[in-house]
Symmetry: C2
DNA sequence: AGTTTGAGTGTACGTATGTACACCCAAAGC
DNA sequence: GCTTTGGGTGTACATACGTACACTCAAACT
């Protein structure tokens, strides 16, 4: 018998976490907009009305999950940045990091990918905003790389938007392929090739326009 | 008084259409998985049980809408193909065609974009399959263009997947920007730049690997 | 003309939904 | 020690849900 007398805030935090986790589980095969407060409560093991002690609506629950998801996503981006930027290796590193993070944070990625297109309006807006922030971060990173000296800020932004789009699509494909190692490898290989194509296009860009 | 005595199949087809249209309207601010048969019936103006005369479930309704949506999408792709392939103009043509088709078939695009990520399993699978077909079609088109003679079929497939991904993302952005002409222009301009970057990358590809 | 067919109706059910309200009781604060 | 606070409970209700079943009635078939 582990007699851990919990403090009040600890207990509250624990059920809050349980609600977030339960929602991620339930969202694996549905979506926030098709999720009822009662389903969540049942999954958590609390009575429906207790839900309101933590969130005022499913929508605000969703916003909390968006914040949480992007915390781990930013951790991933920091991982990518930590490695030194040799042009060839940066691609392998980035894709590998993406694959492993999607696997580790499967539920969060799935949540983001799904609610980005189908969630409540405020949730969709929040995700769009976060992705836009990521694009800007990537743009400033790209600006530090050799060969981008002559680029305009606008073109850098456009390029990073293209890269983020491709990586989001790759994350989606990994989620579909998860559990089938050969399919996962194929997705990763394709992502690497696409990134290289984009980089080559970028390196030859200014000389063209 | 227009006394058009309808034939029986005409009448059936008319309510079937009404159901499809009503669903597209209701899906504009929600999703198939959050849609009830009764909502659809009410919107159409029939009694709930009458729904079953046309579809056996919301899911099969969704599959019908997927088919329908991709008919118009393929019409768009035919439009793109009709124009002669000068490398510079092909980009402008394609993006313009995309923008105008998304505007004209707004509901269908919105439906596809949303249900692709959040719809019932079978619907998601159907959409993935259709997009994969589009990628392959694009790949065979690309193979006919000058400069791709030395390409492997795999690389062509990878390239067209990248292009389709970018165009899907562009369609999403147009849907968000719709009604704000300046935002629409910005999205179109960005899509053009991205397509050019990709093409430049592609043209310099074989010499790299 | 008489019969069959089938889209659409109306009623009826068990179940799930969001939320209001009064309640409990242990940790927190005095 | 007594009071306050607040997470969690239980009951209750109006509403919405999917679907079963028995029905109508005009077009279609014979």
């Amino acid at each position: 018998m582990t007699e851990t007398t919990e403090t009040r805030v600890e207990r509250k935090e624990r059920t809050r976490r349980a609600i977030l986790d339960a929602t991620l589980v339930l969202c694996e095969e549905s979506s926030l907009v098709a999720l009822s407060l009662r389903q969540v409560a049942k999954q958590v093991g609390i009575v429906p009305t207790a839900f309101y002690r933590h969130f005022e609506s499913i929508e605000s629950l969703g916003l909390a999950l968006v914040d949480e998801s992007f915390v781990s996503l930013r951790a991933m981006l920091r991982d990518v940045r930590r490695h030194d930027p040799t042009y060839r290796d940066i691609v392998d590193q980035s894709v590998d990091t993406l694959v492993s993070h999607v696997r580790k944070e499967r539920q969060h990625f799935q949540f983001i990918v799904r609610e980005r297109a189908a969630g409540p309006l405020a949730v969709r807006a929040a995700i769009r905003h976060q992705i836009e922030l990521s694009e800007r971060e990537l743009a400033t990173d790209l600006a530090r790389l050799p060969g981008t000296d002559t680029w305009s800020p606008e073109d850098l932004q456009v390029l990073s938007s293209l890269i983020v789009t491709a990586m989001v699509a790759t994350a989606e494909d990994i989620l579909v392929a998860v559990g089938r190692p050969d399919a996962e490898k194929a997705v990763a290989e394709r992502a690497r090739t696409q990134l290289r194509m984009v980089i080559i296009g970028a390196l030859n860009w200014r000389s063209e326009s």
